[in-house]
């Protein structure tokens, strides 16, 4: 049997691919590294591939439709909003993401922003640099253990935020996620609300951690900011376009909410003239929530485990388009091993 062809798209073409090779050591595969500069080149690169590992942004319908032989398309990142999932499903291609590769990091960023907003950390630093010394300027500092945390999206990251801020800081935690099983809610000791606006109405801190898709695009806008408390903060560490950014800017300018912590923006890199960057009550980061010395290689390990599982004829543990089964000839696969758990740097 011919070797199975794993095409790695984007990035350096002379990458040693240590993790990719290690996870697929038992398979008869060949790695091909391509750095296309156009859709046409990307289409050429994926033709004949058994597996595609995507590091760049080549997830359009026409590129995916050119992948005539692929069983799996693995993205290294958590988000897969740059992939035309419907096209992949049509082609019978299993799409996997890097679930769990940076849940620790992103949840820490959300916690950091919550605490930094609560403690006015950024404002304090700037004030002292200006040679002033005036705590009264920051307004009231609320006791966080008496405040309510609202988490939108209760997946891996949302649950870690609940564990850290809910159980650790003893914040009262409410959760909005219509798809979550009730027993997960019980296990985490949080309260579930069934309307998004109720969460915005009741929370002192709103943290959004959902994937960006058609259902979540601009799911947060004027209506939600209007019902928030004037004393409440809004934190987004997932994707910029889950909120309507002009509506957020307006809410902040009109004092409808007290401040925001933003790791992500609708346009990235953010326009230096974006009014959000001029506001003292807004703290920001350059979409860096997922970063750490671990998440970089863990993303590779995870993506490689997903591809290896599919090529072995198993189900991957982070499949994102379960409806693809209707397009597959071999409907039954064994659930794949989640991969060896080694060296995750506890």
């Amino acid at each position: 049997m011919a070797k199975q062809r794993v095409v790695v798209l984007g990035g350096d073409t002379d990458d040693p691919l240590y993790h990719e090779r290690a996870e697929m050591a038992d398979l008869d595969v060949e790695f091909v590294q391509e750095a296309p500069t156009s859709e046409g080149e990307a289409m050429e690169a994926v033709r004949g591939a058994d597996a595609i590992m995507m590091r760049g942004g080549w997830g359009s319908e026409q590129v995916i439709k050119a992948a005539d032989q692929a069983q799996v398309l693995a993205v290294y990142s958590h988000g897969f909003n740059h992939i035309d999932v419907d096209a992949a499903t049509d082609m019978g291609i299993i799409v996997t993401n890097g679930a769990g590769m940076c849940a620790e990091e992103v949840s820490n960023q959300a916690v950091t922003m919550t605490l930094a907003l609560n403690r006015h950390t950024v404002q304090s630093t700037l004030q002292l640099r200006e040679g002033r010394w005036n705590a009264a300027e920051f307004g009231p500092t609320e006791p966080i253990d008496e405040q309510t945390l609202g988490i939108v999206g209760f997946g891996n990251i949302g649950r870690q935020v609940a564990r850290k801020l809910g159980q650790g800081w003893r914040m009262e935690t409410i959760v909005y996620d219509p798809y979550i099983e009730p027993w997960i809610i019980t296990e985490y000791g949080v309260e579930q609300v069934f309307e998004l606006n109720e969460l915005f109405k009741r929370s002192d801190y709103v943290i959004v951690v959902v994937p960006l898709n058609a259902e979540t695009f601009h799911m947060i806008g004027k209506e939600q900011f209007d019902v928030m408390k004037e004393s409440a903060y809004y934190i987004n560490t997932c994707r910029g376009s889950v909120n309507d950014e002009p509506a957020l800017i307006e809410a902040l300018q009109q004092g409808k909410i007290r401040g925001a912590g933003l790791d992500v923006f609708e346009q990235e890199p953010v326009d230096p003239n974006n009014p959000l960057l001029q506001m003292k009550n807004v703290i920001t980061a350059p979409h860096s929530a997922g970063q750490s010395t671990r998440s970089g290689w863990l993303a590779r390990q995870r993506a490689s485990q997903q591809v290896a599982a599919v090529l072995r004829g198993e189900w991957p543990s982070a499949g994102q388009n379960p409806e693809v089964t209707s397009k597959l000839d071999s409907k039954t696969r064994q659930p794949g091993s989640a991969g060896l758990i080694t060296g995750e740097g506890d």
Partner: protein
């Protein structure tokens, strides 16, 4: 296009051993159908022929210990009106999953209803074993007051608790064992490493490693061909002579003959058992004669709250299946490839809103 709730008929199959269901018995089970405005019908027949007829006129069936012959699947799913079967409880041993997939029959259970209770029963058996309660209870009641049988007795904090199967129950046991200061290790080839990490459990690569390293071993798996006798002679040979086996899952997960032999030969220190290979247990079973074995009669999941929740969940899952949603606790996920696309499962409150109730 999902069907209208008022046209839905839910068929309730009660325990075969207890015919003649009163409406007060099924208040919780019928609650969801009532809230949606669907019809709830109690099956009164007692033959497969009658059941086939009843299934023809129902959109979904729910079973409370009724026991369904897999041949009935050929009248359900893609072959008839009744799209699926929801069954009370956790285990689904005895269900033919592949036949259900073939016929497009959606199967669900009442997942997680007794997670608290089963994990508590597990912790109870673990403490009873560790503190040698059965023996001392008997001694004291018989007028003997002695400390000569105490050693060896573990410190618990710092000891190792090994869990096979890290589903809802396994994870809850892990959390509780951690509260006792124990190191928790786990074996489950299907659990992702980030989930294990989130629960603070060290995952190991083989069941053998669980056997070797643990001071207490507790399986929390389903009974399937793969888990049948998963804990057997080879496993007991690897266990420490001071270690205990706890079983609150299903009897046949443990090779009971091998367990009895291991206990008789002192290969392990004792066992805490809620389940047996034969139930009700034979009164002459050797396990009942041992002072280092604690036993209960397969009631680990029981509390009024848990069973009430299972009953309510049974009704909600049935309505999900009938109204074109996936159930929350789908137990044959491969059926996704043999039936038409459906809506994602959503919380009951959200579902009521979506259906305009």
């Amino acid at each position: 296009m999902s069907p209208d709730a008022k046209d839905i008929r839910v068929l309730y199959l009660g325990p075969k051993s207890r015919p003649g269901v009163h409406s007060s018995d099924i208040e919780q089970q019928s609650k969801a159908a009532k809230e949606m405005g669907a019809e709830f019908v109690v099956y009164a027949g007692d033959s497969d022929g009658e059941l086939i007829e009843a299934l023809k006129d129902a959109d979904v069936a729910m079973s409370q210990g009724h026991g369904i012959d897999p041949s009935l699947f050929t009248h359900m799913g893609n072959n008839g009106r009744c799209k699926g079967l929801v069954s009370f409880g956790h285990g689904y041993d005895g269900m033919d999953l592949s036949s259900a997939v073939e016929n497009g029959v959606i199967l669900a259970n009442t997942a997680s209803f007794g997670t608290e209770e089963v994990s508590n029963q597990t912790m109870m058996h673990f403490l009873v074993c560790s503190r040698k309660f059965v023996l001392h209870d008997k001694l004291v009641k018989n007028g003997t007051w002695t400390r000569e049988h105490l050693a060896p007795m573990g410190h618990i904090a710092g000891q190792t608790f090994g869990i096979i199967g890290l589903g809802d129950i396994g994870r809850t046991v892990a959390r509780k064992a951690q509260a006792f200061g124990m190191k928790v290790i786990g074996y489950d080839p299907f659990v992702s490493s980030w989930d294990a990490k989130e629960y603070g459990v060290e995952m190991v690569g083989t069941p053998q490693e669980i056997a070797k390293r643990s001071d207490y071993v507790s399986p929390h798996t389903y009974l399937t061909p793969k888990t049948h006798h998963m804990v057997g002679a080879e496993f007991f040979d690897l266990m420490k002579p001071t270690a205990y086996l706890i079983n609150c899952s299903r009897g046949p997960v443990v090779d009971e003959k091998a367990l009895i032999e291991a206990l008789q030969q002192g290969k392990i220190a004792g066992a805490g058992l809620d389940v047996f290979e034969q139930e009700p247990i034979d009164p002459n079973n050797e396990l009942l004669k041992m002072d280092n074995v604690s036993v209960t009669n397969h009631y680990a999941s029981y509390s009024e709250v848990a069973w009430g929740r299972a009953n309510t969940q049974l009704g909600e899952e049935a309505m999900r299946v009938a109204l074109g949603y996936w159930p929350m606790s789908l137990i044959n996920p491969d059926v996704r490839s043999t039936v038409e696309p459906r809506n994602w499962a959503v919380s009951w409150e959200v579902m009521l809103a979506e259906q305009g109730k």
